[in-house]
Symmetry: C2
Subunit: 226 residues, 2 copies
Amino acid sequence: MPKSTFFRLPEERRARFVHEAIVEFADRTYAEASLSQIARRASIPKGSVYQYFEDKLDLYRWLLTEEAPRLKRAFVGKPSVEGDFWSRLEDFVERGMAFLVEHPRLARLSAAAADPTANPEVRGLHKSICEAGIQELRAVLEAGAESGALHASDLDVATRFVATIIGPGLTDVVLQELGAELHEVLASDSLRKRLGPKRRRALARQAVDFIRTGLGSAKPERRKEA
Amino acid sequence: MPKSTFFRLPEERRARFVHEAIVEFADRTYAEASLSQIARRASIPKGSVYQYFEDKLDLYRWLLTEEAPRLKRAFVGKPSVEGDFWSRLEDFVERGMAFLVEHPRLARLSAAAADPTANPEVRGLHKSICEAGIQELRAVLEAGAESGALHASDLDVATRFVATIIGPGLTDVVLQELGAELHEVLASDSLRKRLGPKRRRALARQAVDFIRTGLGSAKPERRKEA
DNA sequence: TCGGCATGCGACCGACCAGTCATATGACCG
DNA sequence: CGGTCATATGACTGGTCGGTCGCATGCCGA
């Protein structure tokens, strides 16, 4: 948790610091990321950083568990309740992809929970975040199973497969689509112009189709256009 | 590339060094891994390391592109050409899982290519390894498509989805299955006793079923037992 | 005006690292 | 024996880091 001083900071100073922290932690590993660097870039003396946070991990934890989720929620909004299970899932995936495109750095920060690291404390943090995400997705799929839309002999396993598809899998596909590397993407604030809603929708549909019907059978006729 | 001295080393010294290097790079990020640590643990003076390799990256590259693939090839053997496309894929997946279980550290080292990093040289190395893996898998799937077993509107996208399933996805599932964390697993030489061939086969089948039929339709009758 | 308190600040500390280098060792050769 | 060459060795350099500390600053209430 940030110290109280942090919340009493002049808005501009805090915003600048948080921005630079996100930039740093988004394009470097926890181990590689440097408080000194953040402080330098935000033009804030290093000593001050320790007035705001206990230590490096405290800042990282706050970003990962509070700030990034808050900003993501604000962007993604409430999950849709319209339509059948599969189109709801498609919406969900499309929203996630939109977040990735519009806020690459935040998306990368959110995804950092999957990064490996030798630091046990960071590992614990990452794990709890991953597990929460998995549980959330599991609940979604459970509902799908109850509605009869989805059939899985082992829902835990299925959940993890689906999670890797709509997480790293889709990210990989999007990067491929853009012909860019993660790091080029992190340098830009938004990729709006390079991957519009239409194409996103198409990719989301491809992902959901994959999850729904796999690759083993000829595709049924396309579902209604969005 | 290692320097020529490296290849002239007494077998025991080289083996010990390589072993400790694998241990170090398998459970830490490239940035976190330390040559000093490797040298200490192998009881080899640090200066000597630089008689064998140009620098840290040189060692890492050799491990990732030469040593790990060599050991992996030796373990997994030639891909099977028996049976239909889907059962061949299942074999392929099962072999990969067996490697993960029998040689967790080597598997982790091989998977390190997906790790993020701020170091551009390491990034380039990782990328080329990933890309090679994708191409290999793509060729497999292409054959499946030609044989009519597999249908994908966009094979590139499909390949990337499949890759994440049988890579991180399966690893995740296996860890879940073992109720262990990656780091606990890296501490042990082999998990033979905790995840035998039968269970592996079942998991491989689940993964391939997922890829083949997805989650949207009731499962067809089980294919023949292995 | 003064005192005290929150905060700003940056030099400093100890740790660790990648990589170098001068010196030492010892095998082989003439 | 002397010389040379590959190799071993570990102290050392320069750098970065996370984190601390003591002084400086400036606001607020009396």
